[in-house]
């Protein structure tokens, strides 16, 4: 039943939430102790798992036990997984016997699987119940902690899922029919090992509030609810974006990630990219003679190669995101080639024209490039067309190739595409130079 909180209590909760990030653990504990049960539960459930772990470990055994009782088993499993391995037994020990069993069961699943997301508590009905019996049975069940009573799952004696019925369906059905008569049997279920990204795509496609999770034998194991999916979608988007920035995704918020972890996750990719980029030095050393001959050739290299990298990073972003939203499949590769070659030629033509004008304008104004100015203008323009087209094509194909060979397409990050395109950009540029300028 609803409690009427004193206004000062709600106010205190708001103040605590606002100040949360700048408070120490001790200050947070003190703040929580001042709250009524309703505000405490609200605030605690909304905290990042990392903060929950910190609080439970800092609080007294008595408090930690009481507070952990407010969390559903799926959140508790996250808490245990987030904690330092050394602290896990302490935290598990604080749980009541039956809850501990549920949580240990959930810990067997990978964190990113449907099984790792699901809540093992849900409302069950037997098919032979009458509708009115079912309604009063559910009214009794809601007194206990059942995450959602909006969908009711009809199971046989072997826990196999037979059907689903919404509470609304029950309320509207004639009281003397059986549950079997009114249940829906065309049920969308997810397997306990389905990846959380696939589960969230399912929620985006259908407007479900919850989806049942089953094992190989069709036995029901729990439900994944839509509020957990919102978190999954945000988490996956963060991972994609961080990978796209050319690093291994962090598991914790930026300011809370230990410096050592951050250096490892950034340094790995940075070194790989550096080694890749070393080939630009090798490629340029090969054209050392041409540079010595026409020094201002070197001057345009950063411009040329970065244009290829930029167009490549646009193309790879588009393809990576379209793949992860399911808008694009591997079988569409030739349509992507068509689009990117056309776009690349058009965009390269545009930049080429800009580059052409730049060289001739500087020549007209300052006489910078002397007799070679027209050849240089042609070299810059043509290599921009080539580099931008190659960049768009390489940037769009790399994620598809990665996916084909079983890697995560999001590895095709802006810096990786830029690095790949840089070396070929140098080759294209000097090829154009030997055609229009030196040949």
């Amino acid at each position: 039943v609803a409690t009427h909180p004193a206004p000062s209590d709600a106010l205190r909760a708001t103040e605590l939430t606002d100040a949360w990030d700048v408070l120490s653990v001790t200050e947070r504990l003190e703040g929580l102790r001042l709250l009524g049960l309703d505000e405490l539960e609200d605030l605690l459930l909304g905290l990042p798992t990392h903060d929950q772990v910190e609080l439970f470990l800092a609080a007294s055994r008595y408090e930690a036990r009481a507070w952990m009782r407010l969390l559903p088993p799926d959140d508790l499993a996250d808490v245990i997984q987030e904690a330092d391995p050394a602290d896990r037994p302490t935290l598990l020990d604080l749980l009541d016997g039956t809850v501990r069993k549920e949580v240990v069961g959930l810990l067997a699943y990978a964190e990113d699987d449907a099984g790792g997301l699901m809540n093992p508590r849900y409302a069950r009905l037997r098919p032979e119940m009458r509708v009115d019996e079912a309604i009063s049975y559910i009214r009794r069940q809601t007194r206990e902690q059942v995450e959602t009573v909006y969908y009711l799952y009809v199971l046989d004696a072997q826990q196999r899922l037979l059907g689903v019925v919404s509470f609304r369906d029950l309320l509207m059905a004639p009281p003397d029919r059986t549950v079997r008569d009114v249940m829906h049997t065309d049920i969308v279920t997810v397997h306990e090992e389905m990846d959380q990204e696939a589960v969230s795509a399912l929620f985006a496609e259908h407007d479900f509030l919850a989806v049942p999770v089953v094992d190989d034998a069709g036995r029901m194991k729990g439900i994944v609810t839509i509020d957990d999916i919102v978190d999954v979608v945000r988490e996956e988007a963060t991972e994609d974006l961080q990978k796209f920035g050319g690093m291994t995704a962090l598991e914790t918020p930026y300011l809370e990630t230990p410096l050592r972890d951050m250096l490892r996750k950034r340094g790995g990719w940075l070194s790989v990219l550096f080694v890749g980029e070393l080939f630009t030095a090798t490629a340029m050393a090969y054209f050392e003679h041409e540079i010595a001959q026409v020094v201002f050739l070197a001057v345009f290299i950063p411009l040329i190669i970065s244009s290829g990298g930029n167009s490549g990073s646009q193309a790879s972003t588009l393809v990576v995101r379209a793949l992860s939203l399911g808008e694009l499949g591997l079988r569409d590769w030739w349509r992507v080639v068509g689009r990117e070659v056309t776009s690349g030629l058009a965009l390269g033509g545009m930049l080429g024209a800009l580059g052409f004008v730049r060289v001739l304008a500087w020549q007209a104004a300052f006489g910078t490039y002397g007799a070679l100015s027209f050849g240089l203008a042609l070299t810059v323009a043509c290599s921009l067309v080539g580099v931008v087209t190659f960049g768009s094509l390489a940037g769009s194909m790399l994620p598809l190739v990665l996916k084909r060979v079983g890697f995560d397409p999001a590895v095709a990050s802006a810096p990786l595409v830029a690095t790949l395109v840089d070396v070929s950009g140098i080759v294209i540029y000097f090829a154009a130079a030997s055609l229009f300028l030196l040949g």
Copy 2:
């Protein structure tokens, strides 16, 4: 009441969904006509707005009218907004009178506001109702289309929101109490003009199924439900990622975006970046004399500047995402500076050591750089430390500066940061060269 679909009907729906992307509009229409009402509704509700518009315009008036009746008013408003302005009157004309009024009301809101997301239909109660009256009133209301009956909103005669009560609360309360006695009054509401990104952050923080939308006077206008939020989160992540790839976000799926739109959205930023990158040519022209003196100085330029760009893009990704998740605020800027300068020095030191070894190893193996090899090694190593540190700092500060002056921090894309860092990278490199090599 639940209907038992023939297996062939459910199968047909699955087949149609699987083949959807490769079918023409006519084939889609034919497929839909074969489905039972349940499957039709399911499939139609799950379609992207773009496909819905296409179908409604291609179907007969009679069919389009019947199919549009299956969509809630918020989805219908999206359909009208997505359609070509010339087709909007035709589509509006297909709606029934009261629905049309609701939809026109919703169209007044910006698409990205809470008002543009909300459904104007929700279950209302009066505070003086008895609990048992309320239960039977709601049971009658569920026969009509009310998006969610899990939360019931208690309004006064002026439509001002007084409280909220869940259906579960009602079922558990003594039947002779009034709604006012059992309702919760500490309600989280959103203003009709709140941005959808802020609304979705609220859903992520609290585990709501729905949130009431109110106007300036506290009058209730509708509810935003969590299933719409899943779409918002995916959409916002796509926009962020596309901006991050250095382009204006597309509004339609990659393969469905007309080439002209895509060229405009990519070409704009590509030109801006190109103009920025032109400064590298200006900067290098300034050091033409040094390049002529020691030609192999030019050879390392792509390596140096791209390392700065890569570390900068890592830093900007982290900060952009942390800002958009609310993990980081402007007031944290000095903590970010501390982290990024430390990380930059450590990562730059690592790459610098690799570069140092590379130059001396090539010298030992091939005698490439002659007497200047040690000076060159020092130049490469020290400029890497400088460039990576500067890149990390610039990449992390740019999104904060953009946010401070009121721009979207996600504009600090990988290509933009790389372009900014390139020019300074050249200056740092030649400064190091004049210190260790030429001076």
